[in-house]
Symmetry: C2
Subunit: 574 residues, 2 copies
């Protein structure tokens, strides 16, 4: 039987609850946002006793469905002050789901000033004091848990960034090979740190697995779904060989690569940090150009990047990290970016907010643009050690801007922009401006349809509607627990969405339509989150891009951000 596990850190008590009827058909983002909206006082301090940290596997997570193993984490965000859901890969979600944990709700803060570990297995959930791993990075934590529970263990942990309660701290998720995946945005690691939880170890042994109402129907639909993903050309020829890093050259070509802290849409040295160059480098060094973060993935967007001696540096080096540490900070070395990515994973800090924060520090004259060695020193000697400068950067780009009195800070609601300049891809700008998450490409990826030529990114017409559609779809996919690239197949293969709908219906014994799942659920999630934000004090004036996007044209397209307040506000008319 699925259950809700409630962990109270104030009195160190665990309680197991039945799943309320209204929550039963939700999962992932729909469930975390429902719980946060229902149980967290919107005006509470994100690091105080009234915030709650909620983990919920997606609606399909833990089943045999391919690419459906995502875990959602939710809370009030210390970065944005609004509601937050962050979806991650890795294997913790699948294991939690198979252990029957519909949601893990962590409440309160401890009375004692010590650290804890939560251990989850078939027999229940236990809170233990943790001493040995405090101060350690995520890789050391994962190794220790692996040594104890074996190679198939799940682990959610925070690194030093989370321990320091830095507002851009990740919650890190062990992947199937011991690598680090991340609930990367919105500082949920600081919330976990505020509750003094260093790690959550998860042992699947003896789990009952996910119950599916109609296994046959599920299996049949699952096959169609898998085929649809495998055959999708963008996945086959783009995601599989290159991963998201294929976007470096593409976004450069489109003129939206946020070069030198969003001053130019093209980066002269894009080739040095491109997906193509990365693939060649990985192959030449004997790494893995294609890799998966969890069992059941047929997309293989990950990779394992080795150093010159063939030793693994990092796994899951994404476009956002390449585009921002590369173009935005002008670091033209893949090796340095990979090393920075490894350190960020180990510290447990969001690479998007950190990279944009570094670009702001570069504008402030703290270090020069392009100086990768200084960036590595900054991460190792300042952030990892919690020095004042390290803490500033660890709190993300908006805090860097505040502390250094800078106005050129690419952030919305305190969360840094990903690596797509919104001036020539206006739909993603609407997503940045309006998403309840703050600036977030995964919240409504209007980039895809723009690159596909469905819409002209330079023109305003249709962009609000496009972003609205994309945000509905993202909210739904984040609830299903499928990976965001499923969207590519949904958009190109007419059989994909019906198969997904059939799987969902088969899983829950439901008979809903695609519209129910995408528009109905998506709309419910967005409105629930939006209402929370308004009650937390994030209103229409916070749905704005920084003013430099309106004041400065972006070469080479010479586009500006030219939406009026009213046009942006119209997003919420649904």
């Amino acid at each position: 039987m699925d259950k809700i596990v409630r962990v109270n850190m104030f009195d160190l008590r665990v309680s197991i609850e039945e799943v309320p009827a209204t929550w039963a058909q939700y999962g992932g983002r729909a469930l975390t946002s429902t719980i946060v909206a229902a149980e967290v006082v919107p005006t509470c301090h994100p690091l105080g006793p009234d915030n709650k940290l909620v983990f919920a596997p997606g609606m399909l997570t833990g089943t045999t469905a391919v690419n459906a193993g995502r875990l959602s984490a939710g809370a009030k965000s210390p970065l944005t002050g609004g509601i937050k859901e962050s979806s991650a890969g890795g294997i913790a979600g699948q294991i939690l789901a198979r252990l029957g944990i519909k949601a893990l709700i962590i409440e309160g803060v401890p009375q004692q000033d010590c650290w804890y570990r939560i251990h989850v297995d078939k027999d229940g959930v236990e809170i233990q004091e943790e001493i040995n791993l405090i101060g350690k990075g995520n890789y050391a934590v994962f190794k220790a848990v692996e040594a104890e529970l074996g190679k198939k263990c799940g682990c959610l942990s925070i690194g030093p960034a989370g321990e320091f309660r830095m507002a851009a701290a990740n919650i890190s998720v062990r992947d199937k090979d011991g690598g680090v995946r991340s609930h990367g945005r919105g500082g949920l690691g600081a919330v976990m740190g505020s509750k003094k939880i260093k790690l959550i170890s998860i042992d699947e042994t003896g789990s009952e697995g996910v119950k599916v109402a109609d296994p046959e129907k599920f299996s049949a639909a699952g096959k169609i779904f898998a085929k649809s993903l495998v055959n999708q050309p963008g996945i086959e020829y783009g995601m599989k060989p290159l991963g998201t890093s294929m976007l470096v050259n593409i976004i450069h070509g489109y003129g939206a690569l946020p070069t030198r802290n969003f001053r130019d849409g093209q980066y002269a040295k894009h080739d040095m940090v491109s997906g193509e160059t990365m693939r060649e480098t990985i192959i030449a060094r004997g790494g893995q150009p294609s890799h998966t973060c969890q069992p059941g993935c047929v997309i293989h967007c990950s990779q394992v990047y080795p150093d010159k001696d063939g030793k693994t540096v990092t796994s899951g080096l994404e476009y956002e990290t390449l585009g921002l540490l590369g173009a935005a900070c002008e670091i033209d070395s893949l090796d340095r970016i990979a090393e920075a990515d490894r350190i960020l994973d180990d510290i447990g800090l969001d690479s998007i907010d950190t990279a944009v924060g570094i670009a702001v520090l570069m504008d402030a004259g703290v270090l020069p643009f392009g100086d990768g060695d200084s960036v590595l020193r900054l991460l190792k000697d300042e952030v990892a050690k919690g020095t004042p400068l390290g803490r500033i950067l660890g709190c993300g780009a908006a805090t860097v801007g505040k502390v250094y009195g800078m106005t050129r800070v690419a952030a919305v609601k305190g969360q840094a922009l990903p690596a797509y300049d919104p001036r020539p891809i206006k739909g993603i700008g609407i997503t940045y401006a309006t998403s309840p998450m703050g600036a977030d490409h995964t919240a409504g990826y209007a980039v895809g349809p723009t690159l596909a030529g469905v819409i002209d990114g330079h023109q305003k017409k249709g962009q609000v509607e496009l972003s609205r559609h994309c945000q509905h779809v993202s909210a739904a996919l984040d609830s299903f627990g499928v990976c965001t690239f499923v969207d590519m197949a949904v958009g190109s293969d007419l059989e994909c969405l019906p198969a997904l709908v059939n799987m969902l219906n088969a899983r829950f014994g439901a008979s809903k339509t695609a519209e129910d799942y995408l528009l109905g659920l998506g709309s419910y999630v967005l409105k629930t989150e939006h209402r929370f934000n308004i009650n937390a004090g994030l209103t229409s004036p916070q749905d704005r891009l920084p003013e430099f996007f309106s004041a400065e044209t972006l070469p080479p397209s010479n586009t500006v951000w030219d939406f009026s307040d009213q046009e942006i506000a119209a997003f919420w008319n649904f």
Copy 2:
């Protein structure tokens, strides 16, 4: 003829404009808030080109009225993100008024990366490049201007804090003896720094003086007004001998002295930092226990505090600084607090936000409670030099809390609480919560009526109404340009308010009532500011005190903050 001076820093152009009819009868806060609300886009970046910095002498400033020489400065605040008015003493306001400058509006930011000085005299306003004084403290700036223009010069300047665009930076105002008075709250010094203006020098030579419509009536009313102040017992026996520092023992006695970062309402060592001890010390060392910051003051709340050798350390050592560096940070040495006050004046940083920020740093373990020497080092070696830690502190208590992940941060809308715990003096808590300025005792000093026994500070009944009344009165007094202690005489002498009204009517050739001036004008100002804030994104959820005030009882009264959201929101029902 009164005029509006507009200084455009983008194209370095000065224009002189007629006073619009709707602005003619405003001055001080009513005028700065009117102009900011009319001309500043509420969502603009406070340090960007769209913010405007407005100076306006009060409605009576520059006349022969006693205690009516205040200058208001206004802008969108980099500290709160809302509208800001900060009132200061010193002599700049009187001189500007007598030069016929109704308001000085500074717009835009320069195109060149260099610093400027604005010079104001009878012939007009000039923008000059400034090189020599950059990096210097306010005392050095004042001395340089004095050497050039003589002992009667006016000067508005920023220290290193403003140059670094720290969000709690002051604009400093030269007083009649060359000492430093401050537009201390809301980071207006950072706005001046963002416009690259190091100083505004003001030469009164040849000024025409303030035109009064009915000089005889004005003079007659002025005499009654002056007598009313001189004879007020609280002024005669409290403010004159002790200044605001008389409150240390009184607020300790009331149990509202925010000891150890607002953990206790009483400070065991209150006697060591009390007004009585300060007076004895000053007299023993040959300083001035009573002093005025501007000509025409009959209250003499200031003092000149000397060191052991009789050398002046600082002038205008206020209760807020004593209560916060003393009780909140537990620094039990008047000498160290006076030295800190001098450094803060020289750097140009708000002593309230800085002291509360230091208390948060003490909670975070960065330095120990009570360590005055470390505080001095922190100010001299970190803040003054713009190190990362110095910049964090220079951005005020809320930023310290954010960067160090602390929840015990006494701030509202990003602005730190003054030295009155709101749990046993609930009226001031309503002011902190609701004032458009953020936490600000001068915005509605409900402490006075509480100490006078008009209301029981521990009980909720009547506090919203009290704060509403006090905020109306404060908004009016800040517009008149009279000093806030005039309120004491208005409350105790039935002749005071009619005399004030007669002066205002005589000055403007008007025939308004006391209700027009206090309630009418006060209400207009508050509503104008509130509307700006809502459009800037500061809505009802930001009208809240930090949650620890509700969660923890304050010894020895064991009071808590127990207003519901609805009760607080009712403040705005007028």
